[in-house]
């Protein structure tokens, strides 16, 4: 089992390295001169050259890469091309906000999808089961930002139950934080919950055909009892994989949701940086988001091993 973890960890580190190289070179080699963009098109060649030196863009690419990645390893993401401020501290703050958003979204998605998915599988031939499947099919087709827009129009503007947008730091005002986050959490969670419901349903349906559940039933357990006691652990293996993928999808969905609800997370930082053509900031944020995706898939792999004893023995 330790060997398995070791290999996985190695794959993670190598992938992270590969990702950093990919991001750096795509953003450096492809056309566009950040110094010229920063100064505007009226700038003289001398002032552009001077700024290139100041930004360190006149060094060989390899040196630039090594100094960037060396800094990143120490939490230093360099300075923004547009604001000249260090990127690292801001990125850290913004990432925390997004993490709150995503975690809330996951909780909502799980609360919706596990009971509904199990129900849809157990009653897959009854009206309720088919209804849940149909609803989840529709939920999958709704972009999260649209759910956000509709929630704002209805809950915040018409009924005035919750604030339409904005963000409050949880440490200063926990109640206000929750109030501001409920609609974003719902927008992210409802849509991802619909996706997850379909996977839970199909995973549980697969297990329901297995012999061990028939045995459990013949012992006298009721269908739901047998399923809860024996089936869910097995059904959770494919669901954990999907949940991992979903976590990454949620992180990216958060980029759009932060725009809808004006939340100062890493997503709005990214869209601002893209609008300003601030490649240094874009590079740092994209790397952190990709690192997050790689970390999740690494953790999912470890979770497999913990859930499935057959993998532990190998």
């Amino acid at each position: 089992m330790l060997r398995r973890f070791g290999i996985r960890a190695l794959v993670f580190v190598v992938s992270a390295f590969g990702a950093s190289v990919l991001i750096f070179f795509v953003l450096s080699i492809l056309p566009g001169d950040p110094a010229r963009v920063a100064l505007g098109f009226g700038a003289t060649d001398e002032s552009v050259a001077a700024l290139r030196t100041e930004m360190g863009l006149d060094r060989p690419l390899i040196t630039q890469y090594l100094s960037w990645i060396g800094g990143v390893l120490h939490g230093d993401f360099g300075r923004s091309f547009s604001s000249k401020l260090p990127i690292g501290p801001m990125l850290f703050d913004r990432f925390t906000v997004t993490l709150w958003l995503v975690l809330g979204g996951v909780v909502v998605a799980l609360i919706i999808s596990i009971p509904l998915g199990v129900l849809a599988a157990v009653r897959h031939r009854k009206v309720s089961g088919i209804l849940i499947s149909g609803l989840s099919q529709v939920g999958v087709a709704v972009p999260a930002f649209l759910a956000g827009m509709l929630l704002i129009a209805l809950v915040a503007m018409r009924w005035k139950w919750l604030p339409p947008n904005g963000y409050v730091v949880p440490a200063t005002d926990p109640g206000g934080f929750v109030k501001h986050m409920i609609l974003p959490w719902l927008s992210l969670g409802l849509v991802q919950g619909a996706v997850l419901t379909r996977y839970v349903r199909s995973a549980v349906l697969d297990e329901m055909g297995q012999d061990y559940l028939r045995t459990a039933r013949s012992k006298g357990l009721r269908p739901m009892q047998a399923l809860l006691r024996h089936g869910l652990r097995n059904a959770s293996i494919p669901v954990v994989t999907v949940l991992g993928v979903q976590l990454v999808t949620l992180m990216i969905g958060a980029v759009v949701i932060e725009r809808v609800f004006v939340i100062p997370g890493v997503g709005s930082m990214l869209t601002d940086a893209v609008s300003n053509r601030d490649l240094m900031t874009v590079q740092g944020i994209v790397f952190v988001l990709v690192l997050f995706a790689l970390l999740v898939s690494f953790l999912v792999d470890i979770a497999y091993t913990l859930i499935d004893p057959r993998l532990r023995a190998k």
Partner: protein, 292 residues
């Protein structure tokens, strides 16, 4: 409870997982009808829309269905919503075809390759696939937008590249099954070249999977384009797009909700259509190859 032993209620525990297959044909038909409808609307919009999409009927701005000859009403500038939806269908088709095309054309041969080359090469290829998987479409599109500026072309290419890994994975797993089959063994014994086997045996047999994956990926591409256009990095102001319509309707949402509802319905129906088509086709093609 009835005493008639044959009137036993259906037991979900003993019911086979694949037993719930009464509906797929109906769903397949619904999916196909939706997809064809979107395609027809898009193609017709090349030649004809009820109103010009640039025409602003200022006297009839924000009106409801049927007013002033506007079938679905007008948006805040007085543009005809039905015409915008048709022209938006064109953009949706265009983005989807190019993005899915890129992914299928690059992903399918790589998937077959990954199934046929020796293990250490395929292992490397799959690790690269995993790495690319960590770059979702929206992230890649934003990265490209930072370099070239946002736009429909950047969006299509980014969505296409981000979709390659799912094609590689699906095609590889299908190709592995085909390669185990007896007819491929026979072809090997008969001295067929590896390229010949890939072209004549593997490709035709995984084509079903490619079509299914294309349909599912198409739905994802529609959502990605909508999200990018909403952020302002997709369709430009002159390109009609459902996502852009949504974004523009946000300011009028609480007072004129229908302006939002129409493009929202268009997106949701199109995505459901492509998903149903994909699911239905998956059931139709060899289920052994389908995987899950």
């Amino acid at each position: 409870m009835s005493l008639d032993p044959t009137a036993r209620p259906v037991d979900p525990v003993t019911a086979a997982p694949g037993a719930n297959r009464r509906g797929p044909n109906a769903l397949l038909v619904i999916g196909a009808v939706i997809v064809v409808a979107v395609a027809v609307a898009g193609v017709v919009s090349f030649f004809w829309t009820p109103f010009d999409t640039g025409f602003t009927d200022t006297a009839n701005a924000k009106v409801g269905m049927g007013v002033g000859g506007h079938l679905l009403g007008t948006d805040r500038l007085g543009r005809d919503i039905a015409s915008l939806l048709m022209a938006g269908a064109k953009t949706t088709l265009y983005v989807g075809i190019v993005a899915v095309g890129i992914a299928a054309v690059i992903g399918t041969p790589l998937g077959i390759l990954a199934a046929m080359v020796p293990r250490r090469y395929s292992e490397f290829l799959m690790r690269c696939t995993d790495l690319l998987l960590a770059f979702p479409a929206l992230l890649l599109a934003l990265m490209f937008a930072a370099i070239w500026g946002g736009g429909i072309t950047t969006a299509m290419i980014a969505i296409g590249i981000a979709t390659i890994p799912s094609f590689i994975r699906v095609v590889r797993s299908g190709a592995l099954v085909v390669l185990e089959s007896e007819y491929v063994q026979a072809a090997r014994v008969a001295g067929r070249s590896r390229l010949g086997i890939a072209w004549n045996h593997v490709l035709p047999n995984v084509l079903g999977l490619v079509i299914v994956q294309s349909s599912v990926s198409y739905a994802i591409a529609i959502l990605a384009e909508a999200g990018l256009s909403y952020l302002g990095f997709g369709a430009g102001l002159t390109t009609p797009s459902w996502g852009l319509m949504l974004q523009e309707s946000q300011s009028t949402l609480s007072s004129y909700p229908m302006i939002t509802v129409w493009p929202a319905l268009a997106i949701a129906i199109a995505v459901v259509g492509f998903n149903l088509l994909g699911d239905g086709l998956r059931d139709r093609f060899d289920p052994r190859l389908a995987g899950r």
